[in-house]
Amino acid sequence: MTHISVKVDGTTYEDDVEPRLLLIHYLRDRLGLTGTPIGCDTSNCGTCTVELDGAAVKSCSVLAVQADGSEVTTVQGLARDGEWTALQRAFHERHALQCGYCTPGMIMAARELLREHPHPTPDEVRHGLEGNLCRCTGYQNIVRAVLDVSEQEVTA
């Protein structure tokens, strides 16, 4: 067992964890933060994407012990006082989700994409989301949602 201290969505947790425990299982099974789902066991699908110290990571490829001393943001930590972020709103308005299983990961990946390319082209959006699979939407509305937010930022 290893002792860790992690700040998740604004709250600090102190826990003893097995060294092999994955961050995604720590979030889901230990903290009960089940908003981030698991879609694969090979780090290919991106559904488990969260932010670790501000960078998007696939939480199934990070050990909980690696998050010691770090700050983690999950999809559950985005809305503030019931106010959705611009990306969450855009996903809703553009119908960028159907079953919604890929959505938390998509939103977290899109946040990073927009941080790195505040004004991406449609192609850049597609490439930026390459690590996140969606089986329902065909991606087009996801791309539109991300572009919407980048444009909002231009005018804002």
């Binding site: 099974d29 694969c40 989301l129 939407t137």
Partner: protein, 788 residues
């Protein structure tokens, strides 16, 4: 009509169901946790076919944290055999299908033993400690070898790998062929696909020992069907089982099953008296969740030189995999009615043989039989056009049912109520700029450009609804095709809609709210929609086969009409008027000619709540139920056009543009319809270009993870241009036709037709799916060698 003007139906409403999904307040089955929860892990066969000589779970039991471990033999008695509900022919061979293999494993992935432990890591680690002795048996992996005289049987007690033969004819095909000037014969292959819903399956069972009740949560599309079949399979009384489908992360047919894992989890939770959870890993999902397609299609078309179709003959070999699942035999047979598609002809001959192989079982996947059928007919129409030197769209136009000819009964015996193929096609041509692309194609061919342009056409129709029940009975399908809806108007005037459909991304909550709000004249926001829980939605037939809107949505509409009718009686009493003198508009009843005498439906609801002044004999409720069994299927249609660029030096295929115009009848929510189309097109393109389940010679799935099985990501897909025409269905009061599978059905042939169209001038006549760069390159090389 006495209803209010349509305010909601037709409106592009963002969905109500998004709020919890985009904030992570989700209720996936794997999220469910209860006190005392144990975890179940499954040991699966590493071999395609073997006799189980011995299973020893004792070492696993000794591991700390392991509560129990069982072999198939330990639990066989309690679990029964997994059901097949669609034995299409009278003599269909339906083998025994134990949820955990007892004597023999028949595909790599077949469950062999289970461990129950206090956490998921302990459970899966303990699987390593189970000892199994196998004696390998010869395996048969491919459809045609499986039918050879000396093929090793997948089920030794059956002595044959033929599950069934199905044959249907209409008109005299041989006579039609005798009159033909051109007869074209082709063999197409439907590769095996892995459905890959993003949420792997999961089951949680919570037993209540005192009452003998069980709640089973499952990532299922079919909670109602599942409950019936769990009761039948395990002997637990149906009214002691509550099935809940919480948030379900995609299904596409792969979750319409009664899976062994559901039976295992239920039976072991009962045995141990403890809540139990099983969650599939992705690697497990790839072998253990049913696969789709996998057919060899022999198709022959007889025509005149002017392009007039005379007859069609189809002969299928359909892979069932190792066992029959719920609908396995019915899927290719469902497609039988769809091969003639939108074309007129005199004769049709269809036959199908279901074949067992030592692979993961096959069942419904995204379109279930209809994409396969549409692929074959739309491919051969293109090949015929090439043979006749006609434009592929002209050939279709020459043969299709014209707008003024509806209703039209096809040679396959289906009556299409309405359609307008001309309008959709003309619109698609204009959006696509068809002539300009053809000119560019001719120019590139002329110049001998290394990058060729191909144009693919697909004018499809879909068959939505999987009903009426009578038809299903004639097809030997062991369930009805009806759907139930219940509407409760609460004392405060808010409305609850309870539907028997069980969505997993289709947006029923929003669409059903729109439908109910319109009929009742209440605000969209005042309607709540509930589903997916057998204690709440007491009966239903669930969601698959694009049935939800055309049956479930129409049932909501009809239930709402019943509410209005019941409310009218109460309103007449309150207004001291004759029912016949009441008008209902904008959610209120008023007396004709004196609009100030008025009662809103909310006021009427409150009156029935208090019921203080209702006359004797008047039921104090305006709630209503409607169970709809439609008279017929519905038939959306459309035209999909695809332009590809094929690099003849590398074989790479690039989709340059994709345009479709679909006619799904009346549209309830254009945003949702467009989204459904996008997803479907993505899948269809992916079958055409990317996906295939591949096995090694031993029968192990080599595309066992998402690292090996190609699921397209955003850069792999183009922008789709979607538009629509709207020809209302005449077979239901909403005029809706359904949309869920349209994109998948239409797009695969459009893309492959485009690839072949690009390569035809270079001597390539056909391409096997998926048209990967390597396959295209090989095809070009063989064509070159053949012409040298």
């Amino acid at each position: 009509m006495t209803e209010t003007a349509q305010r909601e139906v037709g409106r592009a409403r963002p969905r109500k169901e998004d709020a919890h999904l985009i904030t992570g307040q989700t209720n996936w089955t794997d999220n469910i946790s209860v006190n005392g929860l144990l975890h179940l892990a499954i040991l699966r066969s590493p071999m395609a076919h073997a006799r189980i000589e011995r299973v020893d779970v004792s070492a696993a039991l000794e591991r700390p944290g392991v509560i129990a471990a069982f072999s198939g033999r330990d639990v066989a008695e309690e679990m029964g055999s997994l059901p097949c509900a669609w034995p299409v022919a009278e003599d269909t061979v339906v083998p025994d299908h134990p949820p955990i293999a007892v004597d023999e494993v028949r595909y790599a992935g077949d469950p062999v033993a289970v461990v129950v432990a206090r956490d998921r890591y302990t459970a899966s680690d303990a699987l390593e400690a189970i000892e199994v002795d196998y004696t390998p048996l010869p395996a048969v992996l491919d459809i045609e070898p499986a039918l050879a005289e000396d093929a090793p049987p997948v089920h030794s007690d059956k002595g044959t790998n033929r599950s069934y033969n199905y044959h249907a004819t209409s008109g005299d095909y041989e006579a039609a062929k005798a009159q033909a000037e051109v007869v074209l014969t082709r063999r197409y292959h439907q590769q095996r696909l892995i459905p890959t819903a993003m949420e792997p399956r999961a089951v949680v069972v919570t037993p209540l020992a005192a009452s003998g009740d069980f709640t089973l949560y499952s990532s299922t599309q079919v909670p109602h069907v599942l409950r019936v079949l769990l009761a039948v399979t395990t002997g637990i009384p149906e009214n002691k089982i509550r099935v809940v489908a919480p948030d379900v992360g995609g299904g596409f047919g792969s979750k319409l099953q009664v899976y062994g894992e559901e039976v295992i989890t239920l039976v072991l939770a009962k045995r141990l008296g403890r809540p139990l959870k099983w969650t599939e890993s992705r690697a497990e999902a790839n072998v253990a969740t049913h696969h789709g397609r996998s057919q060899v299609q022999d198709i022959e078309v007889a025509a005149r030189r002017d392009g007039t179709l005379l007859g069609l003959k189809v002969s299928l070999l359909a892979d069932m995999g190792a066992y029959l699942m719920l609908l396995s035999p019915g899927i290719p047979v469902l497609g039988a009615s769809m091969y003639p598609a939108i074309y007129k002809m005199r004769a049709y001959d269809f036959s199908c043989t279901g074949v067992f192989t030592n692979r993961t079982p096959i069942d419904a996947y995204r379109g279930a039989g209809r994409p396969e059928a549409t692929f074959a007919i739309e491919r051969i129409m293109d090949d015929l056009a090439a043979e006749l030197g006609m434009d592929p769209l002209e050939l279709r136009r020459h043969n299709w049912i014209r707008h003024e000819e509806f209703p039209y009964t096809t040679i396959a015996g289906l009556t299409y109520d309405s359609g307008n193929y001309e309008a959709a096609t003309d619109k698609a041509i204009a959006l696509f700029d068809y002539d300009k692309l053809r000119a560019e194609q001719a120019d590139r061919n002329h110049r001998g450009d290394t990058v060729r342009l191909g144009i693919g056409v697909s004018t499809y129709t879909e068959m939505c609804g999987l009903a009426p029940s009578r038809w299903l009975g004639e097809m030997r399908y062991a369930a009805g095709g009806w759907e139930a809806a219940n509407i409760r108007v609460l004392p405060t005037g808010k409305v609850e809609v309870i539907t028997g459909t069980s969505p997993h991304g289709q947006g029923h909550v929003t669409s059903w709210s729109q439908i109910a709000a319109d009929v009742l004249g209440v605000p969209f926001e005042d309607v709540e929609v509930m589903h997916g829980d057998t204690r709440l939605a007491t009966h239903g037939m669930d969601t698959y086969g694009s049935r939800s809107l055309v049956i479930g949505g129409v049932a909501v509409h009809e239930a709402a009409r019943k509410v209005v009718d019941k409310a009218r009686k109460v309103a007449a009493h309150l207004l001291e008027a004759n029912e016949a003198d009441l008008e209902f508009a904008e959610g209120a009843f008023s007396v004709k000619g004196s609009p100030e005498a008025r009662k809103t439906i909310q006021e009427v609801a409150f009156e029935t709540f208090t019921s203080h002044g209702l006359p004797d004999g008047m039921e104090p409720s305006i709630n209503a139920e409607h169970v709809l069994d439609p008279d017929t299927f519905s038939y959306p249609h459309g035209t999909h056009l695809c332009a590809v660029e094929v690099d003849t030096e590398t074989g790479a295929v690039h989709i340059r543009s994709y345009v479709c115009v679909d006619d799904v009848g009346k549209v309830v929510n254009p945003l949702i319809v467009e989204g459904q189309l996008h997803g479907g097109i993505a899948q269809g393109i992916s079958q055409a270009l990317y996906e295939e389940a591949l096995y090694d010679e031993e029968g192990n799935l080599v595309t066992g993870t998402l690292a090996d099985y190609m699921v397209p990501a955003a850069p792999d897909l183009p922008e789709f241009v979607t538009d629509r025409t709207e020809t209302p269905a005449t077979s239901n009061p909403l005029g809706v036709k359904g949309v869920g599978e349209a994109g998948t059905i239409a797009s695969t042939p459009a893309v492959v037709n485009a690839v072949v169209d690009a390569l035809r001038p270079l001597g390539v006549q056909d391409m096997r799916m998926p048209c990967t760069a390597e396959r295209v390159w090989q095809a070009l090389r063989s064509a070159k060698e053949a012409s040298a």
